[in-house]
Amino acid sequence: MKLRADREHQQIADSQLLRDDSKFASGKIAFFQYLMVGIFLFLITGFWDLQVRNPEVYQERAMRNSIKSIPVLAPRGKILDRDGRVIVDNHSSFSLFLSRENLKMEHLKPIAEGLNLDYDSLVARVRRFQSRGAPTYQPIPIKEELTPAELSFVESHKDADTFPELEVIHVQHRLYPRSGFAAHVVGYVGEVSEAELDTPEFARFHQGDVIGKEGLEREYNDILTGTDGQRRVEVDSFGNERRVLSDDKEAIPGKPLQTTLDLDLQAVAELAMENRRGAVVALDPRTGEVLAMVSRPAFDPNLFAGRIRSKDWKELVDNPDHPLMNRAIQAQQAPGSTFKPIMALAALETGAIDDNFHVNCPGGATFYGRFFKCHAKHGGVDLHRGIVQSCDTFFYNVGNRMDIDDIAHYAEMVGYGHKTGVDLPHEAEGVVPSRRWKIRNFREKWYPGENISVSVGQGATTVTPIQMAAAIGGIAIGGMWFQPHLTKDTDTVHLMPARRGEVNLENIQKVISGMYGVVNEGGTGGRARIPGIDVCGKTGSAQLVSNDAIKAGFKLTDNMKDNAWFVGFAPRQAPEIVVAALFENGVHGQFAAPIVRDVLKAYFDKKARLSQAAPQIASLPPLFHPPAAPTTAVSAPVRDNP
């Protein structure tokens, strides 16, 4: 082997004799060495450029490549009743966002197609976010309550090469009681609108934020809204999370809001108003706490929980019954005969009548050449009977003896003509007619003949159900009016001090005695009677169409029938609760009385139950029906919020 190798070696060596000149190319080899030096310097300068001269640029780009900011949406605080029971809860769902850090406009078309979104509105939405100059880490919400099919579309398209901007976020969605339970009180949330962002109330929010739009949700945005956090994760080129970075910003959940509402009373009131139009307000007159507030027809706040569909919105807005209106604080209706206790008080206080004042009721009376009808022939009527039988003739005469500005003074004293200040947005203030009011609104002077209608709660006078409950409640406790409010946490609501009216308690006793008679002495409000409880109250049947028009042959349709009112409180000696009910087109106040009775009865039944046994929570009908949660069959890499 060795020999053979040597031989071959020898052959080559012999043929070429090259051994002696191995230095033949030393100059060229030196050149090669310089070339090597040159090449290595060339390579090193490449690294120098990238790594030493401006590494920040590339570090920044590496970060943009791999770091994704994912918002952690803070859940809103729950809304609780006075006993801490949940009225408004949250449920988990998946929302789709577009991350703006790596958003490409040309991706919008296929994304819109993949998720059945309207391309034009998607583009408009993205542009709006960009023009608003919101921080770039703030992603654009584009779809809520993702279905499993949509989730899997996102899953299969969110890699770095396809649509890295797709981001599924686990959110806490608002869950409201069903069938519009307490819908008007709690209100609803929705995405902040362009117009709202320009108002000071919502200036601190950003595009895409979900805010309280109505009711308590709006009034207490500051409490209920949490502070969104941010999670920063490192992703690979397929968009999968590799690790969570430590510089997270924790989301601070919104604080729960404890209301003064009593779910038990609310449920009874809701039930009593089933299939009716109108409102019920129950207050504790000693504090102004709202125990129940119902407005019907209602709407389903869950429709609003994300972005309401325009079809649903149109239906709500176009509905002639105005289901979005909170009648409890916004329905301004003539109080009808429920105004009579206030008239009586005003007359006694001003001395327009005394205890001996009597009127004969032949079924009406003529003032200033015009006949005013009473609903019955009452014969001889004094103040007590006037209230109990709700005799119009009696109060026509009372009104005729009074000055309109005195009537207005006492109406305003009990709270009419002003907002009660309840902690809900858009409260209406009603109307208390007076000379000044007439001049200001009609540039006309007041005619004494107008007193006649006002004295029975017709004419220009309008009140809201909450005003009525507050007004009568204040009289019931002896002439003190507390600001109605819905939050238990009195630090957060600036309550006005109670107004104390300068009224004679004896006069108040006379009025209350009349209201006791209404319910318990064969008066108009007998249907509000509860054995064992001293209920006082007053009916009201407010005309929507004048008697003249009816005489002229005006045909009454259903929605022009008289509104039925009833306002009642109990117990007579130390009132704890006052309830006002407006039953629109209910024809007569006696039909509103059972509504008030149901609520009062529920209140006292509960009180008896609680004092008898250890406190127990009444079982409630199931109020919540969580929407079908996305099935877990889809493996979405969505993590729970902290």
Binding site: L43, G46, R61
Partner: protein, 363 residues
Amino acid sequence: MPAYRSLRDLDWLMLALVAAICALGVLQIFSATYDTHYADAWWKQLIWIAAGFIAMWIATLVDYHTLLGQVPVLYVLSVVTLGATFVLGMTAFGSRRWIGTATYHIQVSEFVKIVLVLLVARYMTELKSEQLQLSDLLKLAGLIGLPMIMVMLQPDLGTALTFIPILLVGVFLAGFRWQYAVAILVIVAVVAPASYYLVLKDYQRARLISFIDPSQDPKGSGYQVIQSKIAVGSGALWGRGVTKGTQTQGRFLPVPHKDFIFSAFAEEHGFVGVIVALGMYFVLLMQIVENAQTAPDRAGTYLCMGIAAVMLFHVLVNVGMVVGRMPVTGIPLPLMSSGGSNIVAVFLMLGLANNVRLRRFVN
């Protein structure tokens, strides 16, 4: 001639550098793959390196003159095997470069390189004249051109291009009339644009375009260059640490354990690491060149210089690609990139360089 040569005569510096570079490579392969399904690449690489050292040992022991004597056989064998890859070869990534099964396969063209280095050395030493004649040049170009075209057709442009420095360095050392050089330059200037349209495949054209302007094609080859530059740049002076580079770990870098291993290395070890690694490559190449200078005969010089040229070309093109100064050609970085054929081939070449060194004091 003594049968036994002292171990002292081995190029121990070279061996130390090879071991060090291989170690960096294994570490980087580990870091780039530890949580992927290539996670076993680092110990496979260790096995290849062990095999490489054995191959190197053998290549050191057999006298290179014996190998030079076998060049015609080796050449024919190379061409036949390359031909066989067309028939028997397995296709991967759209080209047919490997022979064997899916688990065990070799890339023939890597070993053809060695044969061509030997061929050039043999051819040049057998020249009768002082300068290379045009006819000699054409003959040699033909001999190299045949396997080169075969490799190009696989298609594997990168490896085919590595044959060129073998020819160039041989011709340069042998001496050549400058008029020929000018003539060839002119021909290349004419042929190159034509071949751009006629010879190059679409993906090769795309690579050239993206080399000139990476932003033209941010998702293809341009994407690779951009991501590589981001990786290198974000490594900055000291690097981001082993397994800490987001570009490498987040799979933004293409094949971070193979062609773009130096990019991953630069991200995780920074400019300082780059200087150390390139410094070792530089000294290693200088050692090979020194072996060429101290070679006992012309054949040894040609052999060492051919090896130095191929390795220099690999380093230039691969590392240049990583910093965006060379087009993406897909040729591995010797000793670091994961891959058996290349590792064994490089070790064989280094063994040959040692072979020449061991015999420098003969007679």
